[in-house]
């Protein structure tokens, strides 16, 4: 429902996994394979010499330091900020607009999401088969989509609960004169386990 970039999530997990895998495999190889250990002992000081050479070739004024340190710190900062943005972009995608008609000569009509949310919440609140319900609106690829989450009491048929919510949605359609795409989520959860069951036929 939300606009979380799931591909990015998988990419972050994949990169972290590959880094750990390569580092772990290298450690095992250094510990267990003599040729690899010898190779490491030969090559590592050379690499160190090369990097040290870069640091000497890039002096920062007459401070005696290399400006590569600034570059390294800046790269670390930029990547940190990108990761922070990645974290903060999770779970977003709510919208306040439900319907907006094209403007006419007389003006424009915008229906706010809270209209549908409150109407549905009102219809759901009195239901004995539900422990709780929540309605929210997301923008999915430019379309406003209603999300109706209901928690059923123990033993309630999911099909009946689904039908009941659909009836409410159809009534909403009649009221709005337009059909808003909707997702219904029927869940259990902690509150359902602790709350009592209701009398059912």
């Amino acid at each position: 429902m939300n606009s979380t970039n799931r591909g990015a999530n998988r990419a972050v997990i994949l990169i972290a996994g590959l880094v750990l895998l390569v580092a772990g495999a290298a450690a095992v190889a250094v510990g267990a394979v003599p040729q690899f250990r010898d190779g490491w002992q030969q090559r590592a000081p050379e690499v160190q010499k090369t990097v040290t050479g870069w640091l000497y070739q890039t002096p920062l004024g007459d401070s005696g330091h290399s400006w590569l340190w600034i570059v390294a710190a800046a790269v670390a900062l930029v990547v940190s900020v990108l990761l922070l943005v990645f974290i903060l972009r999770q779970g977003r995608g709510h919208t306040r607009a439900l319907l907006s008609d094209a403007p006419t000569d007389d003006g424009r009509t915008i229906v706010e999401a809270s209209v549908a949310e409150q109407l549905l919440a009102d219809g759901l609140s009195g239901r004995p088969e539900l422990v709780s319900s929540h309605v929210s609106t997301y923008s999915v690829r430019g379309t406003s989509v209603l999300k109706v989450s209901v928690s059923c009491r123990r033993g309630v048929s999911p099909r009946e609960a689904g039908r009941m919510v659909e009836q409410l949605l159809l009534a909403l359609d009649a009221l709005l004169g337009s059909e808003v795409p909707a997702v219904v989520q029927i869940s259990g959860g902690f509150r359902v386990r602790t709350a009592g069951s209701t009398r059912l036929q």
């Binding site: 429902m1 799931r6 990015a8 998988r10 990419a11 972050v12 997990i13 994949l14 972290a16 996994g17 590959l18 750990l20 580092a23 772990g24 495999a25 450690a27 095992v28 250094v30 510990g31 267990a32 250990r37 002992q41 590592a44 160190q48 340190w69 600034i70 390294a72 710190a73 670390a76 900062l77 990547v79 940190s80 922070l84 990645f86 974290i87 999770q90 999915v140 690829r141 379309t143 059923c152 123990r154 033993g155 309630v156 048929s157 999911p158 689904g162 659909e166 808003v180 795409p181 909707a182 997702v183 219904v184 989520q185 029927i186 869940s187 259990g188 959860g189 359902v192 069951s197 059912l200």
Partner: protein
């Protein structure tokens, strides 16, 4: 069977609405893996901020917080001098976590949910709710208490475990019939097969 997508929504038209509902159902029945990704991102941020701080301290000629970058590099270069056992053990732990993450990155991440057919909305239902509804009907058919009926629903199967009340024999066929009837009426996708297990020994006073 795909009547979740039959009725076009006002916004978008038939084909667009079908695609929208398919996308919504897929996103509702699969995990975004946000939790794991966020934890890894936080660890990466902490490490990067630490490295950045050490770089700046080095530049300012201040003493390092923990380890100067040069000594950190030296520690990596000196890897062959560490005890082989520790290297191998640590490497295996890191590699196993790495493999688990790679599998997690490519894995399906399916949630314990099923989809229900509906003409108006895309509906998903937690397996827990299906199990609880089945438990009520199985208990009723067996004349047992709902508290002595355990149902676990997975992607393809529902296992009903019934402990009968002592002295009241359970009609197994009636339970199977009741459970199958319920499952058929829910029309969940993917379909669920049932398995009924009735304990040999009953429970007194249940």
């Amino acid at each position: 069977m795909s009547d979740t997508v039959m009725k076009p929504a006002a916004a978008g038209g038939s084909a667009g609405s079908g695609r929208l509902y398919r996308r919504l159902l897929r996103r509702e029945t699969h995990s975004p893996k946000s939790g794991l990704a966020i934890v890894l991102a936080v660890i990466a941020i902490l490490m990067l901020v630490y490295v950045g701080t050490e770089c700046v301290l080095r530049l300012l000629g201040q003493p390092a917080l923990l380890v100067a970058p040069a000594r950190l590099a030296q520690a990596v270069i000196d890897a062959p001098t560490y005890p082989a056992g520790a290297l191998i053990a640590g490497g295996i732990v890191a590699a196993v976590i790495g493999v688990a993450l790679v599998i997690g990155a490519f894995g399906g991440g399916r949630r314990a949910r099923h989809t229900l057919p509906g003409s108006r909305a895309a509906t998903v239902v937690d397996n827990e709710v299906i199990a609880s509804a089945l438990a009520r009907h199985a208990a009723k058919a067996a004349h047992a208490s709902a508290d002595n009926t355990m149902v676990s629903v997975s992607h393809r199967t529902a296992v009903v475990r019934l402990t009968p009340t002592s002295g009241r024999p359970v009609d197994r066929d009636a339970v199977v019939r009741a459970v199958d009837e319920q499952l058929a009426s829910y029309e969940v996708k993917p379909g669920i097969r049932s398995r009924v297990i009735i304990r040999e020994h009953g429970k007194v006073g249940a």
